[in-house]
Amino acid sequence: MTLLTFLPLSALIVIFALGVILNRHPIRSALCLAVTLFLLAVMFVFLDAHLVAALQIIVYAGAILVLFLFVIMLLNLEADIPQRRRRNLTIAATAAGLVFAGVALRPFLGSDAGLPGVGMSGPVPDTFGTAAAIGQRLFTHFVLPFEVTSVLLLVAVLGAVVLAKKKIG
């Protein structure tokens, strides 16, 4: 991926990410988030993570965000009323965040020297990012976390039902 594609793509990602937090209507925020996630999936493709990109769309854009939209519509939320007394906090938080981002970004905007790894240039093996390669690693080194996710999801399902079901018998 060259700078020529990276810069516009990242600019779009940042713009839509800002859209998430600046839009007054939750639906618009959710849509901006959907576009951000979609663009991130595109970024993943450029980083040779095809399966991750597909899952990003299926899981995040296709399920998680739709759930958000579903709840927003179910509760029929209206746009926020802007609140004057929040403005100071908003300005303070934004300034602090920008300063932090400035400080945090400084070491990164440069070459990869000193970062462990093979580097971004150089050949990528054919197997990199394929379902087979991911599965290989997932079911050997990460087999325990994989099994744990099943318990995690069970807890989430159980909890969601307990909390949101209309009548608990």
Binding site: L51, I57, A63, V66, F70, M73, N76, A131
Partner: protein
């Protein structure tokens, strides 16, 4: 480089050139089919010199023209931007999903081998799933942006329904991934060229009949057609999420429904009915199990494959139309019941059974 771009463009045009007219024609076939199934005379007004088949011309040319020239109404209080882009968001992902459906094997032009698939993605089937999961946005947004209670209800129903049925759909597809050992749809189609017991084509349906039923039902539910048309349900929600749409935007919603029918047919044919495979047709020609063989040139083979794939798609489109005019609409609780308590557990059991069977055959 240039020639490759041209080839890809030709492939895209060829696929769109098949899908779009077919989607248009389905509108007419549906009306005619309904008349046939109801045993009544139907859709017989549009004829040219007494030839009723001309209704097809009418659907393909006059209908779009009519839609295009109608006034585009945006209701008061609606979100104008979202109201406008919702139909595009609805149509676009379904159309691009066709990129990974292989419609033939390899076409030889000179010494250039052309893979008859627009985008040979390694993750092919996941890509289809991803695009189909994006389709829900159009429904949700169209429903919400219309500033209409019935539209909103349709949108809410649509989102819940589509999320719910994506799960069994994914489970059915996972079973097929296990069966073929690949995510690539072209590889899956090729794998179905073999024979079981020397005579039966090794189509997915013979290995995975349960997954086929799950995928078909979930696919119909995903395309929101009767008996799962609760997001639209004309009798109670007028037209559900696209009640407030007119003109070309209405046409786009309308088209999406039929394009979804086609993609579901395409997916079902590719996964379970050999895709472009013609029984006993190999890269050199027919080789029948009883020993006879007919040698064929590459171009004839490719044409046969494309025709085979098209016929399979058309058959499943017809099959979905038949279902539409045969089965009444489910109630909402029945819909959820079927998805979560019917298809989902069956899908899980099917995956486990598949895995066990694969393990048994491998270790044997």
């Amino acid at each position: 480089m240039l020639i490759e771009i041209v080839i890809i463009l030709v492939k895209i045009l060829a696929v769109l050139g098949m899908v779009m007219p077919l989607a248009g024609a389905l509108g007419w076939i549906e009306r005619k089919g309904s008349a046939l199934i109801h045993d009544r005379i139907g859709a017989n007004r549009a004829s040219i010199y007494g030839f009723a088949g001309a209704g097809l011309v009418n659907t393909l040319v006059a209908d779009p023209l009519k839609f295009a020239t109608k006034e585009d109404v945006i209701p008061r209080g609606a979100d104008r931007l979202l109201h406008t882009i919702a139909p595009c968001i609805n149509l676009f992902p379904v159309l691009v999903a066709f990129a990974v459906l292989p419609f033939g094997d390899v076409l030889l032009v000179g010494d250039r081998e052309i893979n008859l698939q627009i985008a040979p993605l390694g993750i092919g089937v996941m890509y289809v799933l991803a695009m189909m999961s994006l389709g829900v946005y159009g429904v949700v947004l169209g429903g919400w942006a219309s500033n209409n209670r019935w539209s909103l209800l349709g949108g809410i129903r649509g989102s819940a329904q589509m999320i719910s049925y994506e799960l069994p759909m994914g489970l059915a597809i996972i079973a097929m991934i296990l069966t073929y050992g690949t995510l690539d749809l072209q590889e899956m189609a090729r794998a179905q060229g073999e024979l079981i017991w020397g005579w039966l084509p090794a189509w997915g349906i013979f290995y995975q009949p349960v997954a086929f039923l799950i995928l078909l039902v979930a696919g119909i539910a995903e395309s929101k057609r009767i008996p799962f048309d609760l997001p639209e349900s004309e009798s109670e929600l007028i037209s559900g999420y696209f009640t407030e749409y007119s003109g070309i935007k209405h046409l786009m919603f309308f088209m999406t429904d039929f394009v979804e029918v086609i993609i579901v047919s395409g997916l079902v044919s590719t996964l379970f009915f050999g895709g472009w495979q013609v029984p006993y047709l190999y890269s050199s020609g027919f080789e029948f199990p009883w020993g006879a063989s007919i040698a064929l040139p590459n171009i004839a083979i490719v044409l046969l494959q494309i025709v085979s794939f098209t016929l399979k798609i058309v058959f499943f489109c017809w099959f979905q139309i038949m279902i539409r005019w045969t089965i009444p609409r489910f109630r909402y609780d029945q819909l959820m019941h079927l998805g979560w308590l019917g298809l989902l557990p069956i899908g899980f059991v099917n995956i486990v059974a598949t895995a066990v069977a694969i393990l048994a055959t491998q270790s044997a």
